[in-house]
Symmetry: C2
Subunit: 831 residues, 2 copies
């Protein structure tokens, strides 16, 4: 199937050429029979509800007798807490609870067990939570915070990870000796053997800074205890079952006593994978006040107190032989872990997969450390480290190709994996459309012609100040979940009511990614009912069966397989029952158009609702409902990070085309081509949205987004100063999907959630290098950065020949001690 | 088991003597092992939540953008609607929707299909709904109603059913020819054959007026559409699945598109079994305004616009032979159906069972009609007609005994059914403790002594103005559901989580009757877990499996059996799985104290949570969850009302002791003894509450409660003027339970919900007759009624010999034409 997006940015212009499946215009046909929905353009089931403003965000929800919470933060990156006086705040009328660290159990949490809900002795970053208040209304709560008197003794902050690692550096957190929070050390093969057969070796260094998720729905929570002590949380978590386990630990409750209801989530992107201090704070406030408490962030607070993408200094060294084959790859990454440890510290787990397994690399190693500083700290963020790793691998590879005077696309094709390959980390590529992605991306973007016609040698514009460039980058990511917990599975409950309508209750969470629609489509096709006759419940731990959560691009794959498994059981049950009623063998029957059909006569013989009623009201007295659990056939990685961690792997290639103004440094993205091996397209509209959204996020990472952290303080906590790529700025995105029909995937599909964001920045850097001759090793590519890079290379608008390729890494050794890995500890931690 | 309630009215004094089961004081022991909870004093699981005010009544719930609805009612009992001008109301700022009958589909509803949400042409009773408004707040909504101009042309109301039946009477509703709404005609045996062997025949007539449920939580609803057109209702219905079917019909939605969430219900007692106009009105307002709409009644509206108990004129004629055996029973009842037809009209279905089957009566017949008037209309109400029928049967029987100079208790014993009897309606009494109830009630109340020492012949008090009396009455009621719909069953979903905690999801609704606790106790005992480790969900049709609803005293029996069935399946699954893990045969294992125990060594060998985690995380990859449906083995009655309609039948006997002031007519109830065949006591505290509550309700019916409907208008719509029996007025209630261990009942239990309210008024009338010599044939027995009866019989405080028994029925024929029964139609209607 070849859906291709046209060059217009208006969705209506994006006609899709389909070589299989129903025509794109046939949306009125969806809903009937097997195969009717999957692969077509399925509007989001929850779309009308969202568009009409009828969804309930946490901002919309009130609970009886609810109070409003607010948090006072440190506002300085590093200090000793001398005293906190809340006496005046407590006396303010309307205030029901005022909490400091003195008042709550300080159970450490976060991946490094180095965070607490409120801080007791030291401030370690700007956002640190010092006092929390619950009051009748938000204004009173803020007023109460203004009455708190805090005495802080400021301490010189440590603001970069290299300083933090220096001998004698102040230890920021007592838990982390030498400020070392986490250390990963992996190696596969023998680097020196790789070096020995290399004709070219290139060592580059990249500097990647903080960006943040910018969810349009800001953070919020409502905590409420019932009389037996059970906790009801309206929470935006993406991982409700693990969340209640971890939160329960912090607030002293059995996980099963925590009931989580998820309001409509205004964006997740990984930001809601961990517990953050405002969440236990709301619980402690509710406990103290004896009433429900809601905490809502404003936008400034969302910027300051949300997780970030892990800032990284990445050193990569790789070689190529005379044939253009990669010979080895050695990577050392240093992460600024900030003032506390959240999931961001664990992103090397994913980075490593790209270092080890994107392209056939016979010898590879990966050493990385996360180091405490007094900066903001990072969480998980769409791609989970893979954007950083892919930038390093794909830019370095492009430069090796340039040194070897080989075409970047040809080099990639020559080194690409194929189905059947097993990577050095033990990942088994059962389906692999990598080469097809490369070829198709080249074809769609007219790669060959543009590589020749564009570039530094071919100025355009009135005075030759413009150059055009085209760059490419690939990606490898998990596409069938990632087994990092004891179960990577998902439960489904499926029932059919008296009217033949279907209730699908899935453990997986909808965070806007369209899972509700995809799951419903899978079930609708299997049961031969209209997708609009399916109701989905996926937001309430009292109802939904267990699921590990939304992460690792796993929902369509894992929850999809779970839903399919349930639908197939129900299908069998219905056909068997119908067979008895109508006296025909089950294999002569099928489910279609909301009924049982006789295959031989091609006619409807029994309405589905009638069949369900018959089962209920007849002698059988049974309701049609099944509950299943799907566990993917993946493995834990061992303590050496070896194992087939996902049931499937996703591949993709992006080509970015740019126009660069050599005088101003302004980059105009012209077009992005995005081709993905997704196993199979389940929802054309949904997957297009995922790709467009991913490209926008990837472009933002490459071009415009940057948290300006100055002296540990975020200087731009507003959308005016933090520049997201907005709709008018988006270049056209053309896309296609390679359908490799994954053997384990639901209807052959693989995950796509994170993938499209991963290679965009790398392709952009490569395109800018093609246009200007300058390889830029720090993001975002803002005009001043571009101009500085051009200037450093001595390039201006009259230059026509690119300078020679040289190492982007400085001569000095990357200051990263290689110590025994914490890998085993990491694994046991998340399990 | 013999729990006996002491004479104190303080609960703490009510020690219970238990001959089996743990001691009453051992409440700290509940929660462990099989048999640990059932039969003990189990505090309500939802008690703390209710007591602490943490439950959410509909009054506490708001929804985002919610509007407030209000209804304008006719205020006259009979009129033609000339015009309704809502133009000024629509212009009031803050008003979002104003509806009259012109604006909505007038789909007729109610059992007689003679009601609509808003009325178009005619007003047929005071409460009739004419205009509805939705506004930003309740004050604005009321203001808008005040701006409505209504022109009504009043029509002389028809205020009693006899007038309504007179030839030429105005036809109140076009649907009901001759104002006849419903006609039941049943006969078993041959009345004249019965008459032929009678030595005594007595014909009595009773006049029973309106009472109402007086739920402390007034009516309310929140209606809200989502963008796909699905309707979310926060509704107080007792029958969510049938409710959404019927409401869907009115508002034009498939039932399955209606999602019902039940807030905490502040009393049901049958009042929430039907749809009432405010409910579709809220839906139409929500539709018109495009926003959620809440309608809440105030207390006055609750009195005026709630259903009532069916007012009845009951004529009964019965005979007795020389041996004291009942020979025949012939009954004719006429019901004032009021201005519309709700479930009240169908109560003869239950009345008939008492007429036909309370005591062995060889020949019986029952003719009844419900007739339109312009009075309030009746719904279902705890006992569902049985209070009226039992009053007639039991008072008439007592009077036959008096004529025959036989002891009322002896007569009852002589005619009582026994286990194995099949009634003339086909009801099979598989368990029957009727005689034991009679004997035990006599014993507990010291019947024999008091019958002799008290009575009209034995004045007490300073001037002999006081008399004491003791009276008895029995009851027969369904105790195992009543199959009046295609399924009388209940679904249960039961799951166990990683911590070994249990989630019980039952289709049955908690309306304060304590079902949540009983169901949890049944499951806890079966699974050997603490009852507090069970969470119950029973208030949301998107979660709960199908159930026919709370009525017919069926919840403990039907939902209990369903829960037990589920628990037993889970138990088997757990023991089988544990057997594989620990390598012992399943029969050597049991569930106890939250774990798997080895029976032989009497020791715990595996924690339940650990077992569940093992099943999930091991190769099995399964969650522990089952879904079952229990359908009782009962039958529909055929078109002649013959069939074993319930899986079990409950029996009971009450003795009421009174002191009557012969000068003022004031009756002081001294004590009530209530003995019930309940199969088995499941929860001592719960069943005591049911009996006390039922007795209070029965005493109110007999002594104080009365809706003063004057000219079709309710004159006393307040608690000041409508006299409920309050706690300080309650006499001590002593009780005992006969445990016949019903073969089909859950752990042997039968239903008790309605029973205790049924015979109280009859026993009271009989006690007053013992005390005063006067049989009073109209309720309530307020002082002026008592004095009038004494005066009519020529009795005063000096009288010592009661007047002879004479027919309480007037000589004239009961004006009830015997026409073909609508029975078959009734059955098909409810199915």
């Amino acid at each position: 199937m070849q859906p291709v997006l046209g060059e217009g940015s208006d969705l209506s212009e994006k006609t899709i050429n389909t070589s299989i499946g129903p025509p794109a215009s046939a949306t009125e046909n969806w809903g009937f029979a097997n195969g009717g929905n999957i692969g077509t353009r399925i509007p989001k089931l929850d779309g009308p509800q969202r568009i009409s403003g009828k969804v309930s965000y946490v901002q919309d929800i009130t609970r009886p007798r609810m109070l409003h919470g607010a948090i006072l933060r440190a506002g300085v990156p590093s200090a000793r807490i001398v005293s906190i006086d809340v006496s005046a705040a407590k006396l303010l009328p309307g205030v029901h609870a005022v909490l400091t660290a003195e008042d709550i159990p300080l159970v450490p949490f976060g991946h490094g067990r180095d965070n607490t809900a409120l801080k007791q002795d030291f401030v370690r970053c700007e956002r640190d939570e010092l006092v929390a208040v619950a009051a009748e209304d938000e204004v009173t709560a803020r007023k109460a915070l203004a009455l708190v008197k805090i005495e802080l003794e400021e301490i010189e902050p440590i603001l970069d990870p290299f300083s933090a690692l220096e001998p004698g550096a102040r230890q920021i957190h007592p838990l982390h000796d030498g400020n070392l929070v986490l250390n990963f050390d992996w190696s596969g093969g023998d680097i020196s053997a790789g070096e020995a057969v290399s004709s070219l070796v290139l060592e580059d260094e990249y500097h990647l800074t903080w960006v943040t998720h910018c969810c349009l729905g800001v953070s919020g929570i409502i905590a409420e205890f019932d009389a037996r002590g059970d906790l009801l949380l309206h929470s935006l978590t993406q991982v409700p079952f693990l969340y209640r386990r971890d939160l329960g630990h912090i607030v002293g409750l059995a996980p099963e006593c925590i009931h989580i209801v998820q309001p409509t989530i205004g964006g997740g992107f990984g930001s809601k994978l961990d517990i953050y201090p405002y969440e236990p704070i709301a619980v402690f406030l509710a406990k103290a006040a004896g009433r429900p408490v809601r905490i809502l962030f404003n936008r400034e607070e969302e910027f300051i107190a949300s997780p970030t993408r892990q800032p990284t200094v990445a050193r990569i060294r790789a070689g190529m032989d005379d044939e253009g084959a990669l010979t080895f790859r050695e990577a050392r990454f240093l992460h600024d872990n900030g003032g506390a440890t959240s999931w961001g510290a664990t992103t090397p787990f994913v980075m490593m997969q790209t270092i080890s397994s994107l392209y056939r690399v016979p010898h590879a190693s990966f050493h990385t450390q996360a180091v405490s500083t007094n900066n903001p700290y990072a969480g998980s963020f769409r791609g989970y480290g893979n954007l950083q790793a892919t930038l390093a691998v794909e830019t370095n590879l492009d430069r090796l190709a340039a040194m070897a005077a080989r075409d970047p696309l040809e080099v990639r094709l020559a080194n690409a994996q194929q189905a059947g390959d097993i990577s050095s980390q033990g990942m088994v590529f059962r389906s692999c459309g990598f080469k097809e992605c490369l070829r198709r991306a080249g074809e769609l973007s007219s790669w060959e012609g543009k590589r020749k016609e564009w570039g530094l040698a071919n100025p355009i514009g009135a005075s030759g100040e413009l150059r055009r460039g085209i760059g490419i980058a690939s990606l490898l990511h998990v596409g069938g979940g990632a087994k990092i917990y004891r179960s990577d599975g998902c439960g489904t409950r499926l029932s059919i009511d008296h009217a033949g309508k279907v209730h699908l209750c899935s453990g997986s969470t909808e965070i806007g990614q369209g899972s509700e629609t995809v799951l419903a489509a899978l079930v609708a096709d299997e049961l031969g009912v209209k997708i609009t006759d399916i109701r989905v419940t996926n937001d309430d731990t009292r109802q939904t069966p267990w699921d590990v959560g939304v992460h690792a691009s796993r929902t369509s794959f894992i929850a999809g397989n779970s839903a399919l498994k349930a639908a197939r059981q129900v299908r069998t049950q219905l056909l068997t029952a119908a067979s008895e009623i109508v006296g025909l063998p089950p294999e002569q029957l099928t489910l279609r158009e909301g009924g049982i059909w006789d295959i031989r006569t091609d006619s409807a013989i029994l309405d589905l609702g009638k069949l369900v009623r018959e089962l209920h009201f007849s002698g059988q007295h049974q309701l049609v409902e099944v509950q299943v659990f799907y566990e993917p056939p993946s493995d834990y990685q061992d303590e050496r990070f070896h194992g087939d961690v996902s049931a499937s792997y996703a591949w993709g290639v992006q080509v970015v085309e740019v126009e660069v103004d050599m005088q101003t440094g302004v980059i105009q993205p012209l077009r992005v081509t995005s081709v993905h091996d997704v196993g199979r397209v389940l929802n054309q509209l949904g997957i297009m949205g995922q790709v467009e959204g991913g490209v926008a996020m990837g472009l933002g990472y490459g071009l415009t987004e940057e948290m300006l952290v100055r002296g540990g303080i975020l200087a731009n906590p507003t959308f005016r100063d933090y520049h997201l790529i907005t709709a008018p700025e988006m270049p056209p995105v053309q896309m296609d999907f390679i359908e490799t029909d994954d053997p384990e995937g639901p209807r052959g599909a693989k995950g796509i959630g994170e993938a499209p964001a991963i290679p965009t920045a790398a392709a952009l850097v490569n395109a800018v290098a093609h246009a200007t001759g300058a390889w830029i090793n720090r993001l975002p590519l803002k005009p001043e950065t571009v101009l500085a890079a051009l200037s450093a290379e001595g390039i201006d608008s009259s230059t026509l020949v690119p300078p020679p390729i040289r190492n982007l890494a400085p001569e000095k050794e990357f200051p990263l001690p290689v110590t025994p890995s914490d890998g085993a500890e990491f694994i046991s931690e998340v399990m």
